[in-house]
Amino acid sequence: MGEKVLMKGNEAIGEAAIRSGCRHFFGYPITPQTELSAYMAKKMPKIGGVFLQAESELAAINMVYGAASAGVRTMTSSSSPGISLKAEGISYIAAADLPCVIVNIVRGGPGLGGIQPAQSDYFQATRGGGHGDYHLIVLAPNSVQELVYLTADAFNLSEEYRIPVMLLGDGTLGQMMEPVDFDSIPEPVYAEKPWATNGTDNKREKNVIKTLYLDAPELEAVVMEREKKYDIVKQELQRYDAHDTEDADVIISSYGITSRVVETAVQILREEGIKVGVIRPITLWPFPEKAYKQVHPKAFLSVEMSTGQMIEDIKLACECSAPVYFCGRTGGVIPTPDEVVQKVKDILKEVG
């Protein structure tokens, strides 16, 4: 472990991206993500990188599309309403099989919503967000240190699979400071990019990156080929943390900052002798289904800062082997450990 520094989540993402070889950042300010853009604005010019504040979110994501086409490591970031604006571009990037990293520091929605932390973009993130048959790889860190590790992973995974990766945080993670160690982050693993439109030097055939296929069977073939890739990712990339699941009466699932609230609740419950376990998805897509096949609680509980968007993934993953309950707050309100504790006790009254 190297020396630790005290850093805000948003800034730590920026530093981790730079250390992961990202030299092209295109942003547009929005609370509670702006410190990331500000960090990039300060740092990129000093290391020969590009920071560009675009005229809109739409412009920023299309600049990412262009940079990714040229084969460089590139990133954009925003918060919920801004991600909706980027959705069209994200669909194009996914359709062009390009690597890039998109950061969403989620705030309350829908619409302009609010600026306090939320997790109500789960559907948008895990179901693609834009139009068409596609997925993003979605990573959900729960600490500033994990933000840093997963930012590094995001670039590597994105290149390995040629799938855009979304780093899904929330206002709390973005704003809070924790000690972080950058020396232990994963090394950049650069993939070969024979597809990149980075100049032929008159030595090769030109590369074409496009998303328009007017011939239906041709488009179907392209989509189905991509689907095979998604199947591989589903096999290879399911990540989660789990503990105390073996004898658990209730298994609690939550991701991101909410999982920290849950850990505090779990401590309180265990001290009272109540058997609770934890499955914390780290990849939200692919959802860590395999974690739910090996456990046999009386009930599952999803804790989220939304109206319960992860419930159906848990139901699918556990194949309804036990009822799935929900505990959460939304609109920018963060659930308290006490609320989770009470919910677990209520559930145990119902399922015995």
Binding site: L6, T172, E178, V261, V262, I334
Partner: protein, 178 residues
């Protein structure tokens, strides 16, 4: 106490977040686990600001402090807002120069400091936060004066190192008044 959950609150511009950062940074230097979480929003100078700091030996669960063992308030709205949340037996540090009201709860330990007046007396009202910090250090023993001085030296950028001395003067004033 070495481990604690702290809420610091007051007006924007009083250095509430900075006070929290010093405590967080000091905890890091000591090898502790910690989190620092600011309020954010349409904040402005004169608006309200608060931050949550947790210092522990175990990994920090929720970074949101719901039952602070230490509350530091530098305006009346903050006292009204957070007094009820303080854990039983916890400390409530009140800037007596800015807050006329009393701590009404009987199961917490109030500490009154004329922080803004003391800061005025050493020539800079902006140091009231450091006076409050001094009082917190003396009363709770969370960090020593030497640890906070080292924290300032290591956390402040080079161009602000000249401020360490004046800041420490204010911290010591606060330390001596309680």
């Amino acid at each position: 106490m070495e481990n604690c959950e702290i809420v610091l609150a007051g007006f924007g511009g009083q250095g509430i977040l900075f006070m929290g950062k010093l405590l967080a940074f000091a905890a890091m230097l000591k090898g502790k686990k910690l989190s620092w979480l600011p309020s954010y929003g349409p904040e402005m100078r004169g608006g309200t600001a608060n931050c949550h700091v947790i210092i522990d030996d175990k990994p920090i669960g929720s970074p949101i402090v719901t039952k602070p063992s230490v509350l530091v308030v530098m305006n009346k709205p903050s006292l009204d807002k957070f007094e009820d949340t303080v854990a039983e037996g916890g400390y409530v540090f009140v800037d007596r120069s800015l807050i006329e009201g009393e701590v009404t709860r009987k199961d917490v330990k109030p500490v009154y400091i004329k922080a803004t007046e003391i800061a005025d007396s050493i020539g800079n009202r902006g140091l009231a936060n450091m006076v409050m910090l001094g009082a917190v250090l003396k009363t709770t023993g969370v960090f020593s004066l030497e640890e906070i001085e080292e924290t300032m030296k290591k956390s402040l950028p080079a161009k602000k190192q000249a401020l360490v001395e004046k800041n420490m003067e204010a911290v010591k004033k606060g330390y001596q008044t309680v």
